[in-house]
Point group: C2
Chain length 309, copies 2
DNA sequence: GTCAACCGTTTGTCCAAGACAAACTATCCG
DNA sequence: CGGATAGTTTGTCTTGGACAAACGGTTGAC
C-alpha cells in the first residue's frame, strides 16, 4: 500500500540539508550534481543517498571548503576528508562511553541519556565535562548525522539533553550579584547555534564570573544596548562554522566602534578559526578551553578602573 | 555608521514570517500585496510594517483563515480579528503579572523571568501553572510577536525559559518504573513546536503517568517502532495550528492501522480543533485540560471516551 | 438535521533560464 | 609577512508559466 521510498521532494531536501531549493537547482545546472529522477509531474525526486552526500558536502562547506572542489567526490571520499580534518582527536571520552551514549540516543532512551550525562558531570566536574566530553561528543554526533546514521530529530534530542544537563549544572552554582566580571553572551542574527553559548557559560560560571545569556540572534544594536544596560565587562559572541565570515567581521568591527573601550569583546566558535588572527580590540577564542586563560588575563590586567563611558 | 532601516530582503522576510519566497512573490502577483519597493538592483525591499502585517496574516492562517479573505485588511483590522478569536479569554494570569513577565522578557532579564516562572510553579502547582499561566502567556507572547512588539529571539528566549522551568518541575517528580499508563509523546515530521509536548508531560506526570518524549519530528515508522518497543499504552501526538491538516489525518489513520488496538492514540494541539470527522479509534484533545479526564477515562475503562466535548 | 461525496475555486509549490553581486583565490607590490 | 587589485566561483534574486492539493459550498442520502 505505502511505497517505501518514493523519492524525496526538493522541499524536504532543503529542510534536511539546509541547502535552498534555488541552490539545489543551480548545482544541478552548473555541476550536474545532484541529478535526481523526475516523477510523473516532472518534479525532482532525490534519493536518500543524495541527501546523505549533500549533508556531507554542506558540513564540509561549513568548515570552509568550496562546493566546486568537493561536489564530485564520492560519499566515502567526503567522509575521509572530514575524518582528516578531525585528526587532532583527543579521545577524551572513552570510546565505550561514547558508543553507549550514541546507542541510548538511537534508542530514543532519554532517561538513559540523561542519566549518563548527569553521571559524567558529577564525575568530571562541569568544566572538564564540557571540554572533554561534550565537545568531542558534539563532533561524534555531527559526524554520525553527516553519515546519515542519525535522523534530524535524533540530533535535536541530543542537543536538548545536553542543554538540560548543562543548564541544570550551571544553575547549581550560586549567583553572587557582585561577582566579576559580568559577561554578556549572545550571537548575531542568522546564527542559530546556541549550545556553544551554554558551554561557554558552563566554563565561566565555575570561575566565578557572572553570566547573562541573551540566547541566539540578537540584533547588533540590541547587543550594544544590552551591553551598556547590564554594564557588562565582557561581551562574548559565538559563531558556528556556517556563519558568514564577512558578516561576522563587519559586525564585530561595528560593535567595537560603538562600545566603550572598557568592554572586552570575545569572539569564539568554529568560524573564528578561519578569521584573520589579528582583530584589533578583541580576543579570539578558537576553542572553549582558551576561555579560562582569557578570563584570568582579564582579571590580571584587563579589568577596567571605573570609567564607564 | 548605523544605517537605520534600508529595507528588508526577501530572505529575511521568509525567515521572519515563515512565508516562503515563492509565496511572497505569488501574493504580490495575485493580490498585489505586499508590494515592496525595489532597490537599485531591482530586488524587493520590504518595510517593517509589511513584515508585521505578514506575520499577522500568517498567524491568522495558522488558525484556519485563508489569505485571500484577509490580505487586504489593515494591520489593526487583523489584530481585531485575532482578538475576536481570543474571546474566551480566561484572565487566569493576573494582567499585572503577565505584564511583568513580558517586561522582563523585553529587558532580556532572564534571571527575573526565571524567578517569576519558578515562583508561579511553586505557588500554583505544576498543572495549574501549565493550564492557567503558560497557556494564556503563550497566547500573549504570540500576540505581542504578531504585532511586532517582540523580536524573534525574544520569543525564543521566552520559549527557552518556559522550557527550563517546566523541565525542572517535571524532573522533581519521582519516576516509578511501574507507573501506568506509559505515555509516548512526540510529533510528526515537519512539526517544529515541541513546547506543547512538555506541557502535556507536565499535566500527566503529576497524575502518576509515565511519560517518554521523543521530541519533535519523528518519522511515522519510527513512532510505530518506538511505541511497540516501549510498550506504551498511550501515544500522544501534538499538532500546532500551522501543521497540514491532510498530513495529520493521513498519518493518524496510518498509525491507527499499524498499531495494536490496545494502544490508545491521543491527538492534541491547536490544529485538532479544525479536524471535522470524529476520528475512529483515537481521542481528540482540543485543549490541555482535557488530558486529565482522558487519562481518568483510560484508567476507568482502558478505552477512549466517545464524544468530542 | 447530520453526514458524506462532488465540483469549481483558491492557493502553494515547482520549474526554467537569466542576471548580478558577494565571496573567495591568485597575483602583485610594499 | 601584510595589504590592495583583478579574475573566478558561487549564491540569491528575478520573471512568468504550470499544476496539484486544499478548501468551501452544494447536492443527495439517511
Amino acid at each position: 500500500m505505502a511505497a517505501p521510498r518514493p523519492g524525496i521532494n526538493i522541499s524536504a531536501v532543503e529542510r534536511d540539508t539546509g541547502l535552498s531549493k534555488d541552490l539545489l537547482r543551480m548545482w544541478e545546472r552548473r555541476y550536474g550534481y545532484p541529478h535526481p529522477v523526475r516523477d510523473a509531474a516532472g518534479e525532482r525526486q532525490y534519493s536518500t543517498a543524495d541527501v546523505s552526500k549533500l549533508r556531507a558536502i554542506k558540513r564540509l562547506m561549513d568548515v570552509g571548503m568550496r562546493p566546486g572542489k568537493i561536489i564530485h567526490e564520492s560519499l566515502d571520499e567526503l567522509n575521509a576528508l572530514a575524518d582528516a580534518r578531525t585528526q587532532p582527536r583527543t579521545d577524551a571520552v572513552a570510546p565505550a562511553l561514547e558508543r553507549e551514549l550514541l546507542d541510548a540516543l538511537k534508542r530514543h532512551d532519554t532517561v538513559a541519556l540523561q542519566t549518563l550525562l548527569v553521571q559524567l558531570v558529577m564525575k568530571q566536574g562541569l568544566q572538564r565535562f564540557v571540554i572533554d566530553t561534550v565537545t568531542p561528543l558534539n563532533r561524534a554526533v555531527g559526524d554520525a548525522w553527516m553519515r546519515g546514521e542519525l535522523q534530524v530529530f535524533e540530533e535535536h534530542l541530543y542537543t536538548e539533553q545536553v542543554y538540560v544537563a548543562l543548564r541544570a549544572a550551571i544553575n547549581a552554582f550560586p549567583r553572587a550579584p557582585s561577582a566579576h566580571p559580568r559577561v554578556l553572551l549572545t550571537t548575531f542574527p542568522n546564527e542559530f547555534h546556541g549550545v556553544g553559548l551554554l558551554m561557554v557559560e558552563a566554563i565561566l560560571v565555575p570561575e566565578g564570573a557572572q553570566c547573562v545569556s541573551l540566547g541566539t540572534q540578537t540584533p547588533i544594536e540590541d547587543i550594544r544596548r544590552a551591553t551598556v544596560a547590564h554594564r557588562a565587562n565582557i561581551l562574548a559572541l559565538s559563531f558556528s562554522g556556517s556563519f558568514a565570515l564577512r558578516a561576522a567581521v563587519d559586525g564585530l568591527e561595528a560593535l567595537r566602534g560603538q562600545l566603550p573601550p572598557g568592554v572586552t569583546i570575545w569572539a569564539g566558535g568554529e568560524m573564528t578559526r578561519r578569521m584573520r588572527r589579528t582583530m584589533p580590540g578583541m580576543v579570539l577564542l578558537p576553542d572553549l578551553a582558551s576561555a579560562i586563560p582569557a578570563l584570568k588575563s582579564w582579571r590580571a590586567h584587563g579589568a577596567p578602573p571605573r570609567g564607564t563611558g
